[in-house]
């Protein structure tokens, strides 16, 4: 045979590679473990309205009562060591999660009453409560081979150095601290569609290094923040160097509505104060300067923005859109009107009752683009007379403080998902108080909670839309989050060796190579060697 066809990619920054392909080890496995070694049952195409791409499963079916979901596996599936892949492996995986809860990195096992193998190829998941979205959640958990993992005593510390998987690239042909090669699975069911013989993962420590490798053309596929990408990357070889950035997680500012400080609490819980604040955020400047112009401005009071454009209710935007536009004059007018004027003559606005307002705006140290964004925002807030100062604790401290509600104002991010319900559910679920930093603003509204609980109970898109419309009205009206932008998912590619990349002209799926995007597998399979 000729030289193997190699695709060089980078998805994670590291100073050295450590051999770990344990798919349950979210924090320490190599990013190429999911999808490439452990293929998902189904890949839902986020940017094509969650259209399912069947992988290990050839179909799935949700019960009428939404109390169970049944997956049917493809015929003749094999693990990379030639053993058959059956529904028993699926059942084993979930039993395994039950025995080892620390492996359950998406906390999915508690959603099920039981998992049963109907036959060799069919497996049924019985739910604890009705859930229309369960399929999209199930596919996030990899399936592992029973004949290997049943032998593993301590799976949390198991490095799975010689993985036996179901995906296209399971053979670790080389592994050094500086590079590893992951090659074709001889037993892969879809080998006919796979042109890539090996994927090569060079170790790159930071953005600067990724840029170096991209610029010199040695990297085919990357996901990295590249400063001034047009000049530093594209211009080096305009024919082959390309990028395509799509909107991803929502970045917003928020006040802590349960802030312990009484004076602040008064102001924060006043919707006028919040609206004025939001109107003081110069979103375009933040995007252009702090984000190098890559992020997508989000001035949608519902926070849904371009990412979930299909779900946005124009009426709500019409009504409340003014509060998410940068408009210092309107903002100061609103503040003046609401009584937030400088009562004690220190140059800063105070509460209507004269008590002072001094706000600490917290952002994690080291997140430079955020710090820049916060700096820009604070300049405008200060110009309008709000006494805002920035503090930058360690990321860990910041996280803990957000979770425990020990902060005043912050900038926060909310991951992108297949549909806005996930985002809302993560941001406004009272059950997550004290558990997750995504509810840091602590806006809990009974009606909203109820709406969010109702949503998964229906499969009907129209009904779902209705629920979302009502939910987004509540959010836009109260403005607990001041959306600023959706950060881009970075995606750079090089066409000199491989073609078939998704891009703005052909947005077939999200081609980002990070391990949170299962669609990267679709991209891999679409690649063809360049002529």
């Amino acid at each position: 045979q000729d030289e193997p066809l190699v695709l060089t990619a980078n998805a994670e920054a590291a100073t050295q590679w450590v051999r770990n392909f344990n798919p349950f080890s979210q924090a320490s496995m190599r990013y190429s473990t999911h999808d490439f070694i452990y293929e998902p049952l189904v890949i839902f195409n986020r940017i094509q309205d969650n259209e399912p791409n069947y992988r290990l499963a050839e179909s799935f079916e949700l019960a009428e009562d939404l109390m169970s979901v049944t997956f049917t596996l493809r015929e003749g599936l094999q693990w990379s060591d030639g053993e058959p892949l059956t529904s028993a492996d699926v059942v084993f995986t979930y039993d395994y999660l039950e025995a080892h809860p620390e492996l359950d990195f998406v906390s999915i096992r508690p959603l099920f009453e039981s998992i049963e193998a109907i036959d060799e190829r069919t497996v049924q998941f019985n739910l604890v409560e009705p859930n229309a979205l369960i399929a999209t959640q199930v596919v996030g958990m990899p399936i592992v081979p029973e004949h290997i993992w049943s032998e593993i005593e301590d799976p949390a510390t198991f490095a799975n150095e010689e993985p036996v998987g179901s995906g296209p690239l399971t053979e670790i042909a080389r592994f050094t601290p500086q590079v590893y090669d992951q090659c074709r699975n001889p037993h892969y069911w879809d080998n006919d569609n796979l042109a890539v013989d090996c994927m090569r993962w060079p170790q790159l420590a930071d953005n600067t290094q990724v840029l170096g490798a991209l610029a010199e053309g040695s990297l085919d596929w990357a996901t990295s923040f590249i400063p001034d990408v047009e000049n530093t990357f594209v211009a080096r070889d305009p024919d082959n160097h390309h990028f395509w950035y799509t909107p991803s997680s929502l970045v917003s500012f928020s006040y802590n509505l349960e802030v312990p400080d009484e004076d602040l609490s008064k102001a924060f819980n006043d919707v006028d104060f919040r609206r004025a604040t939001s109107m003081l955020l110069n979103r375009q400047d933040i995007v252009d300067i702090a984000g190098f112009g890559y992020p997508i401005v989000n001035d949608d009071p519902t926070t849904l923005g371009e990412l979930y454009a299909d779900w946005v209710d124009p009426a709500v935007v019409e009504e409340f859109g003014q509060y998410t536009q940068f408009d210092p004059e309107a903002a100061t007018a609103l503040l003046d009107e609401a009584g937030y004027v400088d009562a004690n003559g220190d140059g800063w606005r105070d509460n209507p009752d004269g008590t002072p307002i001094a706000i600490d705006l917290m952002v994690p140290n080291g997140w430079t683009d955020w710090i820049d964004a916060v700096t820009i925002a604070s300049e405008d807030l200060q110009a309008a007379g709000l006494n805002v100062s920035i503090s930058t604790p360690e990321a860990a401290v910041w996280t803990a403080d957000l979770i425990e509600g020990r902060y005043e104002m912050t900038m926060n991010a909310l991951g992108a998902a297949a549909m806005p319900w996930y985002a809302y559910n993560r941001a406004f679920n009272p059950g997550d108080e004290g558990v997750s930093r995504f509810v840091a603003q602590r806006f809990f509204d009974d009606e909203l909670t109820e709406l969010l609980a109702d949503f998964p109970q229906t499969q009907d898109r129209e009904e779902q839309g209705d629920i979302m419309n009502r939910a987004q009205r509540i959010v836009a009206e109260n403005l607990p989050l001041f959306p600023v932008y959706n950060s881009p998912s970075f995606y750079q590619y090089n066409t000199s060796r491989w073609t078939g990349w998704a891009n703005a002209e052909d947005p077939k799926f999200s081609p980002v190579v990070t391990n949170t995007n299962p669609a990267r597998l679709l991209q891999l399979l679409d690649l063809e060697p360049a002529q």
Binding site: A14, T15, Q16, V18, R19, N20, S25, Q26, A27, S28, H100, P101, E102, D104, F105, V106, S107, P110, D154, A156, T157, F158, A159, R174, T176, P177, Q178, V179, P202, Q203, A205, D206, T208, Q209, G212, G366, E394, A395, A396, V397, T399, A400, I403, A413, G415, R426, V435, S436, R437, T516
Partner: protein
Amino acid sequence: MAFLLRRLAFYLAAFIAAATVNFFLPRVMPGDPIQIMFGSANANLTVENLNALRLTFGFIDAPIWQQYLTYLQSIFTGDLGRSIRYFPAPVSEILGRATIWTVGLVGIATILAFIVGTGLGIFAAWKRGTRADTAISLLAIFTTAVPAVVISLLALFIFAYQLRWFPSGYAYNPLLDPALSWTYISSVIYHGTLPMVTMFIVLLGGFAITMRNNMINLLGEDYIVMGRAKGLSENRVMFWYAARNALLPTVSNLAIALGTVVGGSLITEVVFNYPGLGNVLYQAILARDYPVIQGQLLIMTAAMLIANFLVDVSYVLLDPRLKKA
């Protein structure tokens, strides 16, 4: 001998003290590593799952003294735990790998800087007041005064970015497999040159100035005058009378200078993305990888102690006055 024994006892005490500090430091640090691991990831973990994970990472709720004893026991058996960031790789493995590069880089740079710096110092002292002396002194002053960060960044800017003579990272071309081949070795040299030269420059001035000043202080000593009076050649007096004696304080300073060496290598490694201990420590701090931080500080301290001990030994060898004591 007694001198060395006393030093050994001190080193042991210092090591245990350092280990103790090392044990408590991360424990009083705010921020939970598990939270960091998942803080920005998209995972959604329940509290129970988080706790289960904490346990697997060894965050046990045993009384602190018990943890401390276990800790002491494990460091003396060489078990430094497992990295959080690179879980489940043992810390010793990660550090071991990095140590090779640091020892190579730091070792060679330090030895070269010591030899060249000391040589320059001897030369400047011998020719004191001349233009050569002025030039060497000013150069030495300059290199000691400019932060290693600045020197590293300038070197990176000029030689890696502008002139493109050297690569801007790595210990060798990552596509090569480590082997005793010329391609590999030349790649190691090619990648190591810039950080090495930078460290060399960072360290050079200190050695040169100390040696120069020590030498000048000694030049008025009777035994040096006597050496000259004996009609010995300039070189013999310079090296066997002046330099040999001036080296003693320099050597004892070397032990302390090692602290600077470690610091300098940290910066150099970070700037040049050299996969050494300094870089690993830096990344570990950013990732709050406690076990690695702990292991790292311990290894660095141990290395300092060993280096200090070697310096002590060489001091005894160089200074006959200590042998009998």
